[in-house]
Symmetry: D2
């Protein structure tokens, strides 16, 4: 679609320098109506000033929506039912937020009759993919404007010049030498000094977690209750999904839990270092696995485990709204029907560890075998036949190998 044909754009707008410049640039280049949309996903910033800022920079209309409960209930929780983790370390805090932003942005585009959407993600990262796959899911014919891939403002100085020229205020606080993304599930850091993969990330980077060295000297125990694989209560207190995650973030942060330093593979093909703080999510995953330990069948668990890397890859690569993710989710959710119980997790100095788990309704451990005679459930003699038949193909193989040598 040629620029002059675009009639109305919905922009995912954070209020920062970059999306402010984008807002102005869209107005300048497209000369059409631009609506900004800002989602409250628990990033902790004040969203109130955003409205004024957006209008000041040229927005024709402003949407600010609190999506925290939807975020945790419909995005974070399904993903945690799957124990999703990317490349063994990353809990997908940014990946899982993008589809929701795209979803709401497209709802607004529909309401407003917009024919284009825009975002501030660069052309080298994962987020552009996640946004745009989401956009196209909701409207395959939408026009997507990705300024970072289009414009000439390819240096920091060019951006600053453009901002000055267009009366966009430049924050006086010196930008920290990395970029970050925050929501209720995590905060991420990347870029700049982190590109030295050998150097430890500086302590002053961390936002959500105390340094383990400064965490309390006394461990804390937390009990988390799950229903159908979803956390519903902490230490006996029922909470909504967003409340619960916020609560675990606070506790986990105090104990310095959930820091991860990962050199990961982006969907666009290069490696990139990310540092993450996911205090609540780290506790939640450990607790969820603990309840699975006592309630989940072995073969269900092992088969499911073999599919987790693929599930995580789908989320990371932006395929949340895809038939393959939905198909895998059906399997995951089937596996969670019995995941009802309580985990007890010990938090201490940067680490959390399961120390107990129970399930009143679905424990598969040590049932009262009252309906059985002694040895009817498990007769040690049975093990002999079990081993004999399990070894049969191996014994035949050894016989065959021996015969071959002769």
């Amino acid at each position: 679609m040629a620029k002059q044909e675009v009639k109305k754009i919905v922009l995912a707008y954070s209020g920062g320098l970059d999306t402010s410049i984008i807002l102005k640039w869209l107005k300048n280049e497209y000369g059409c109506e631009v609506i900004t949309f800002s989602a409250d996903l628990g990033q902790g910033d004040e969203l109130a000033p955003i409205r004024e800022k957006a209008f000041a920079t040229g927005a024709d209309k402003v949407y600010i929506d609190d999506l925290k409960e939807e975020f945790v209930r419909d995005f974070v929780y399904p993903m945690f039912r799957a124990n999703a983790i990317y490349e063994g370390h990353y809990l997908l805090g940014t990946s899982i937020a993008r589809p929701l932003i795209a979803k709401r942005q497209m709802e607004i585009a529909k309401i407003e009759g917009a024919d284009a959407v825009s975002h501030g993600a660069t052309g080298k990262g994962n987020d552009q993919v996640r946004f745009e796959l989401g956009y196209y899911h909701f409207n395959p014919a939408i026009t997507v404007i990705a300024p970072w891939r289009d414009w000439k403002l390819n240096s920091r100085q060019a951006l600053v010049n453009y901002a000055k020229k267009n009366d966009i205020p430049i924050p006086v606080t010196k930008k920290r030498p990395w970029s970050s993304d925050r929501n209720l599930l995590h905060i991420s850091f990347e870029g700049a000094i982190l590109e030295d993969t050998w150097a430890e990330a500086p302590e002053n980077m961390y936002v959500l977690t105390k340094a383990p060295e400064k965490a309390p000297n006394k461990p804390q125990y937390v009990e988390i209750e799950f229903k159908n694989g979803n956390a519903v209560a902490v230490d006996g207190e029922k909470m909504s999904p967003a409340q619960l995650l916020a609560h675990l973030n606070f506790i986990g942060g105090e104990h310095g839990i959930g820091r991860v330093d990962l050199l990961e593979n982006r969907s666009v093909g290069m490696k990139s270092r990310g540092v993450y703080e996911t205090p609540g999510g780290t506790i939640l995953r450990e607790a969820h696995m603990a309840v699975e330990q006592i309630t989940m069948d072995r073969e269900v668990m092992h088969l499911r485990d073999s599919l987790v890397p693929r599930y995580a890859e789908m989320v990371y690569n932006g395929y949340w709204f895809s038939p393959e993710r939905e198909m895998l989710q059906a399997l995951i959710d089937e596996s969670q029907k019995t995941v009802n119980g309580v985990a007890r997790v010990k938090l201490y100095k940067g680490h959390c560890r399961t120390v107990g788990r129970k399930s009143e309704t679905d424990s598969l451990f040590n049932l009262d075998f009252a309906t059985f005679e002694k040895d009817q459930v498990y007769n040690q003699k049975d093990a002999e036949g079990f081993i004999k038949l399990n070894s049969l193909r191996l014994r035949i193989r050894s016989l065959q190998a021996a015969a071959k040598k002769k």
Copy 2:
């Protein structure tokens, strides 16, 4: 094979009460020659007194072998090349030792012309399977004697009575109320008080690790170098596999690293709680993954990751000497050719965490693209086509879904 036909037995002998009773029982029941075999896998016990003890209890011949280097080099290392972990937590310390014991026991059986082998594993556990699958691999026609599945001594009291009647000394030190297994990779605990899955394991149970609360207040950094996926040096000092693992065990133990509490699924079908200390192994796995981060291709990693649960299952279930494990090992080893580099890991109060990684020879991160023009390797514009085509099937699906609704 009827008892009277057995001519010579090789018994895996630890020198403890149980295998002492078994030794005597074999002599009594089978009336044939019994050879004991004890392996030094780094369990930390003095093996010297075992010889005398075995002869005193009726052994006709005694083998005591130091298998530590073979254990780490040929069993632990291949398994760590695969990042094997069982049910997300267990590093397979006992599982990986059993095949080596079986291998050496069968070598001795061959040397000695024995027609039977015996072990002290119970009929409810995993170890019987691991031993016997190993035995049958080396000689499909061997007679296996598993006294726990055969005899009538099914209570502690019956055993004690049998010991007294047969002049087997009963240790005066009161047995701790759990059973354990130790080698260079780990120590495990199970049974007794651990069967209350909700109760935390007692602090006095732990052997290899200091309580995190008593670990040094200062973090320690350790640098581990890998060649083809195998750890070869720590903090710049080359070490043999067994030396290296012992060294990491010491360091990790000081920092309280590697404690795991897992309710796991046994191969014989029931759930069982295990508590584990794997200080060196925990550090090793983290470090190995760190070097993979910078040297391993994305698709190789993701495909490999999906196979790790299956690999771990094979080891756990005793299928070390099996064509399927060997086949998977071929894939794993192919993936490790480029895993050359150094990881920097921070140890602190019960936890270890990667803080840096580098590879002089195989880094896939941020290469010097000197042979390229600007933007030839990565042109941000390319991302548009990438996203457009990746979304094509999703867009068609949405179009189709919309058409269907009409």
Copy 3:
């Protein structure tokens, strides 16, 4: 359970010599009430004489149930939604019937208050496993009597002698030198002359299919309609599941379709040769895949395909009533929601082949892209970026490899 404690047995009874001997043997050995159960799964035998025969041989009560519709609807169809095939060739005709027999047998046991069940499967085969896993699913405390594993009648002559001694009539028709199992999905053959794996199975073995050489010289085309992955009509005519399968069996049989000769791996560990005729099932699977071709998303299909071997293994090994099969079924069924359309298959001389497919509601092929501008759905230029980014990691790897060589 000791023999004298068994009070009432339900026996899966076919009316043949073997289960007749078992019926008598149970009466003789257990001296308790024995109820026979015979299921009509479309094996084509007259079941009417079975009642009389059973009573004559000592049955205390006789159940004969027509389970054909349940068989196809609740067992065959779910399995065909998964395209299940064992070791690339076997359509699981016997495997899928056993769970249903076990289910009904256990229902009868419950109705009748029986404390034991029995079957005529040998101790070397798969069927014992399939029956018994089914029994235990419905009642974990049931006593299972498997005469072939217990009795001394281990030769054909011993059986005949036992029959004569107990006035069991021995069929005058000479038994064909192989055993077979038949139902609405297939007939299988194994044993005897088939054990020469190099010799072709004799033409006179086949029951359901004409020899391809004697099939019509003119091809026949058949159109099969699917809804949610289930076949619902043939050549425009709606049919119940059992009717439809019977119809395809007839057509397929005329054209000599569905013969398979497979040396397969049994769940008990040895290899065994099976010859199968599955005329209707072979056509059904081909047609199902054809409709999937036009209605199923690529990633859904590829991920699903990677799980089919595991699904087939579960069915073959007897794990129909297991949480892992149910979990996988949830994924399969999710994938089938859009599998609506018609396949056109050509049948000729022993083979069937898709020649057309269409879907009015769910085609993902060549949609009318009227809502799009020209080139908006697919712009050839996009392929460049797609390839550039997909090759990025490969290019980096080649750069790295080149650098390493220097």
Copy 4:
């Protein structure tokens, strides 16, 4: 790279109208040296006239290479060791040829000091991806010219006009209304009338196979011998890989074997119908699986089978020269060490079917268990313990479910 900077181009040249126009267009647009490269992969065309034609159309240098043996030995055979099949039907005949063409083309580029390569694949298909991933593997900095994505000649008429204007002879034979690609493994058809997915492909389209209706009325039996998973002899006669495949093509073609009609998913995201003739390959795959039946371990086979869809996807999508394909090949090749034996396959009227298999060196079927006592290898009693323990988790689950209901 700007057009004027390109110094020398190697073009994959078939001699047909399209690549002739491309050759001229490259000369016109780039004004630099253009070298043509034509590979003999067994497409059956005369390659001799190509040289003259290329020079006449403006080529500065001409390469014509016979790659048939390399094609079958190093590309087709490794792929057939994996039983690769795409979406259940396609034997990947075109997919596997592209990497070899790319390899040789890049060798020539290196020899000639060319800085660019070009091909005639369109921007909507798979082949562009396969070519270019290959090119980038061999030289990440190569300039790739894909005229179909670049030029304005987007209609048949535009091409014809361009040809006329540039004195390129237009074949008088009317082009058949579909495109095709042929090599020693297969011939493929797509486009035009095939886009009606419901209409049967016309009989006059087929090239390599007789219509099954016109195939001999007498079946033919063929015996194929495999060593390490590679076919080495047919009916007792040793042949080179290319000879063997050509021989099977002839035989298979006579019997009308290997026709496939598939609506498949392209790597670029849309569905596309392909019709294929793969006579020799179809026989080869069936025979290979037959020898695996008698020589391959069960768990090896099942695990391998779950990875075949992924392997096939790699080949289809053009990732032949990728670390993930090489990793999977290592697993496949490990699995093939014992695949030594002979298959007997019956060919008749469009279909081939295994009727026998044997292995003198590696049969796992029915070994002579002379070293065993009776019943030592397989004691039917063992099955009881096997079933009891395999059912344990299912029994516990049922107990738990029953308890929950109360």
